[in-house]
């Protein structure tokens, strides 16, 4: 993040000097192009977040009995959430989903693909790369239907493994694993592209030197490659964790959070409470929890970027 912590390379040299010499109206004129962005961000991003902080402490309901009679209820929404079994269930499921599909699945598979692609023949590399990126480009609702078809009782997976006697409706028996698999399939391209870029920046001489010294493939990976892309690994982990935390459409099309609440991650729980049960106050409290988790990850991520410099 050198571009933020220090003057950017494209900026005029001696900016310090110019700032002191030019009048205030030049500053204003220069900041003018920023206005549309600032306005949009204030109204549609900062506004809702502030409203969220307010509404989470009220019993606000937009329709039905409680509407028009909004009162402050203090921490009641949070107490309700933290003592609710369904909330605890969705927190655990969100953790499982994030660790399984992002930290382990997308991250390791993306790294493996990037490493393999360096050694693979150009044709294999291009075809496999295109397929993996294809899975990433298609809309998430379509990805949801694809995986529904793949894992359902009379779907493709059961057809393939039919002889083994393992045939079952995977969406009912292992719902959270099923949606995690779908998310790995959909998101691996991102990690792969990030690692492709990072690996291409490792100077060839370093790896060749390690090879000359007799380092095996695994040893080279552990002691040379991984340490050199360590920062990329942390950056990538933060980004895919944030993306995975907010996955909604994929799970909603595949299982709707079910059966029961067996794949109901936090976003789906929030949606159900706020919109199906019209408990906007309680829903915003959960939204605030999600936002705070996201904000913590975001701050750690910024921290890591700054150390990068």
């Amino acid at each position: 993040m050198a571009t933020i912590t220090r003057p950017s390379p494209g900026a005029p040299a001696g900016g310090e000097l110019r700032r002191r010499t030019h009048p205030v109206r030049v500053d204003i004129a220069r900041a003018l192009p920023l206005t549309p962005a600032v306005l949009l961000l204030l109204v549609f991003l900062a506004g809702p977040i502030l409203w969220c902080v307010y509404a989470a402490f009220t019993n606000i309901a937009l329709t039905g009995a409680g509407s028009g009679d909004t009162q402050f209820v203090g921490l009641a929404n949070f107490r309700e959430a933290f003592s609710s079994k369904d909330f605890a269930n969705s927190v655990v499921l969100t953790l499982v989903f994030t660790v399984l599909s992002a930290v382990v699945g997308q991250n390791l598979l993306g790294l493996a693909l990037a490493l393999l692609q360096k050694r693979a023949a150009p044709v294999v590399r291009a075809l496999v790369g295109a397929t993996v990126i294809g899975a990433w480009v298609i809309p998430e609702v379509v990805a949801g239907y694809l995986w529904y078809a793949f894992l359902a009782q009379d779907g493709t997976l059961n057809e393939i493994i039919g002889g083994l006697g393992l045939s079952q409706n995977w969406l009912y028996t292992l719902p959270i694993v099923a949606v995690s698999l779908a998310n790995v399939w959909r998101g691996t391209a991102f990690s792969m592209l990030v690692y492709n870029a990072a690996l291409s920046e490792i100077p060839a001489e370093i790896e060749e030197a390690a090879e000359m010294d007799g380092a095996t493939g695994w040893g080279r990976l552990r002691h040379v490659t991984i340490p050199m892309i360590r920062r990329t690994v942390t950056t990538n982990l933060m980004l895919i964790t944030l993306q995975t935390l907010s996955v909604f459409g994929l799970i909603y099309t595949m299982t709707k959070g079910g059966p029961g609440t067996k794949s109901q991650t936090l976003p789906l729980y929030m949606y159900e409470q706020a919109f199906s049960f019209s408990q906007i106050g309680y829903g915003t409290a959960i939204a605030l929890v999600l936002l705070v988790v996201g904000a913590v990850f975001s701050l750690v991520y910024m921290r890591l970027l700054r150390e990068d410099g």
Binding site: A120, E140, T156
Partner: protein, 302 residues
């Protein structure tokens, strides 16, 4: 990541990776085995990614498709496409999606370009806090904001309006767009602009005629990123739009086929193909012009 590499990172997205790495290596039997192994494993992973994808293509052309992956063979027909290509099922949702996606991407691109220019070119004391806020908001889960946004939209009477939805969609794309755009703009040398300024061009003229033409690879990356995100976006229109005749393709696919009762799987697949086509075409078109190597790894690192 030092300051001096600012321009190289911005240019990174257009370079093809790892040519130098595969330079002169001793070609013994061991490397041959390793190469064959790498090829096999990569191909196997590729096949695993391909199998779920194949279903949608095969089923779309199969008049009596089920959930199983099966070659259409004698059942090959375009009936599924004929059945879904009606105004209510395909044309209107696609048009709605296009309106939402094109307008919000266009707004996001214009606003982000305008914002990125002063951030890239001038030093003021507000620049750093502003950039840090932008970077911070790229990490916020938009899903979590949907409940308060709905609440806000109810109070502003914006629920079920296209303009409100477009404005919100554009805003969600803004932080990352500004951030990427600023980094790409840093890669354009300032000397050319200074020449234009001396000739009396205003900074907006310079932006349009000097800077933007020089950074079109960066612009296309940001555009692809924004457009794909908007076209596939399900949750925002799902929450903010209510009337069936306003719903974009991403939501109507769900409301038409969402009840897993007696779903016409072939038709669902055909519709999915039609809905996916625009983003795939856009991706192919732009990534080809970028030299086949579309990565934003460089821009990510700042």
């Amino acid at each position: 990541m030092t300051t001096s590499t600012g321009s190289t990172t911005a240019a990174a997205p257009v370079t093809t990776p790892s040519r130098s790495v595969r330079s002169a290596k001793p070609r013994g039997p061991r490397t041959w085995v390793a190469g064959a192994l790498a090829n096999t494993v990569t191909a196997v992973i590729g096949v695993l990614f391909l199998v779920p994808l194949l279903w949608v293509v095969f089923a779309a052309f199969n008049a009596d498709a089920g959930l199983k992956l099966s070659w259409p063979g004698s059942g090959f027909s375009l009936d599924n496409f004929r059945a879904v290509m009606t105004p209510e099922t395909t044309y209107r949702p696609m048009w709605n999606g296009l309106v939402l996606c094109v307008s919000s991407s266009a707004i996001a691109m214009v606003v982000a370009t305008l914002a990125a220019y002063p951030l890239s070119r001038f030093e003021t004391r507000y620049k750093r806090p502003f950039l840090l806020t932008i970077l911070f908001s790229t990490g916020l889960p938009i899903t979590a904001i949907m409940v308060p946004v709905y609440g806000l939209f109810v109070q502003l009477n914006l629920v079920d309006t296209l303009s409100g939805t477009i404005a919100f969609m554009a805003t969600t794309a803004l932080p990352i767009a500004i951030f990427l755009m600023k980094n790409f703009m840093d890669g354009v040398p300032i000397t050319l602009e200074e020449a234009a300024w001396t000739d009396g061009a205003s900074s907006m003229q310079t932006l349009r005629h000097v800077v933007l033409p020089l950074m079109w690879p960066g612009l296309s990356v940001v555009l692809i990123f924004t457009f794909i995100g908007q076209w596939g976006n399900f949750f925002i229109p799902f929450v903010l739009l209510l009337s069936p005749d306003q719903l974009p393709a991403s939501v109507s696919i769900f409301t038409f086929f969402g009840q897993y009762g007696s779903v016409q799987w072939g038709q669902l697949a055909a519709y999915s193909v039609l809905y996916t086509l625009p983003v795939v075409l856009l991706y192919l078109l732009l990534s080809r012009r970028l030299g086949g190597a579309f990565t934003f790894g460089g821009a990510l690192k700042g």
